[in-house]
């Protein structure tokens, strides 16, 4: 890359920080408030469902047109595994970023691929979970738990999906050799978004799945 091209990539600002980095942190800050409102909503309505299925207890619920006994709905081992996968994806993306900053294309492609795979696994887990819950009688409007649970975890899942699409486009660029060390900030910004999605899940996992 020529000096002129490299110079064009750098954005000199009054703060000394690239404007794109300030922008992603501002977005992350606003997203904190967005997810805080969803988590508040879940906590405020927690334990107020009049009918089942319920997350941690057996209950009476409407299934196939008549009331019947329903078992507790959460499957903790599956979600724990999904949580571990998402945590490791954060580890993989920092390794990919390290590779990008060092100009190590093999390292970048290997760990970025792993990150995308982890993200896809997490989305798959959530789709399976939603489908499983629906077949157990938990629809969006079945009870307050269903409405708040699907809204909170659904919005998080949509953020994971956006992250996977974003990282996949960067992976394609890396494979084509269009993500050199000078452009590693592009990956750093996507990685910050990915880590935010991870920290939101770090809060959602105990609040939704582990607190009875």
């Amino acid at each position: 890359m020529s000096d002129a091209a490299a110079h064009a990539i750098e954005h000199h600002t009054s703060t000394g920080i690239d404007s794109r980095k300030v922008a992603i942190w501002t977005l992350i800050g606003s997203e904190c408030l967005f997810f805080a409102s969803l988590i508040s909503m879940y906590l405020v309505y927690k334990g107020k469902s009049l009918v089942g299925p319920l997350p941690h207890a057996e209950s009476q619920c409407m299934l196939h047109g008549h009331m019947q006994a329903c078992e507790q709905i959460f499957e903790i081992p599956l979600v724990t595994f999904g949580t571990a996968v998402l945590l490791f994806s954060s580890f993989f993306v920092v390794l990919a970023l390290y590779g990008a900053q060092k100009g190590d294309r093999k390292m970048l492609i290997r760990w970025l691929s792993m990150t995308v795979l982890c993200g896809l696994f997490f989305i798959g887990m959530q789709v399976y979970e939603f489908q499983h819950f629906y077949h157990k009688g938990l629809g969006y409007s079945t009870n307050l738990f269903g409405s708040t649970f699907y809204t909170l975890t659904g919005f998080h899942g949509s953020h994971v999906t956006v992250g996977v699409i974003w990282l996949s486009t960067l992976l394609v660029l890396a494979i084509r050799g269009k993500l050199p060390a000078e452009k590693s900030l592009n990956l750093e910004i996507a990685a910050l978004y990915w880590h935010f999605v991870d920290v939101v899940w770090i809060v959602i996992f105990p609040v939704v799945y582990l607190m009875r």
Partner: protein, 119 residues
Amino acid sequence: MDAHAPAHAGEEAHSHPKPATYLKVAVILFVLTALEVLLFEAGRGGLGASVRPIFEPIVIEVLLVLSAAKFALVAMFYMHLKQDPKLLSNLFVFPLLLAATIIGTLIILMSYWRVVGAK
């Protein structure tokens, strides 16, 4: 400009941790997640009826502490807030405190209205 703020993205990269540090953080995160699930199991009697009375009253508090520790580790090391300029930390921490206040206030307010409504 912050005296410690790097002028270019390339300079920031040099101050970021090494893969060995990232691995240590990943291991700690994994262990903390395992502790969360173990605590959940102990609290509901999955690890034996004898330990349930010990853990059941403290499950929520300990889960919140473990969750906060994991959150801080990811923010400091993976999101590089520990090394990056203070401005970025402020952009994150201020809304985060506001978010925590919103959650706390709403829970207190709704609990209050529930008590008032019951009278």
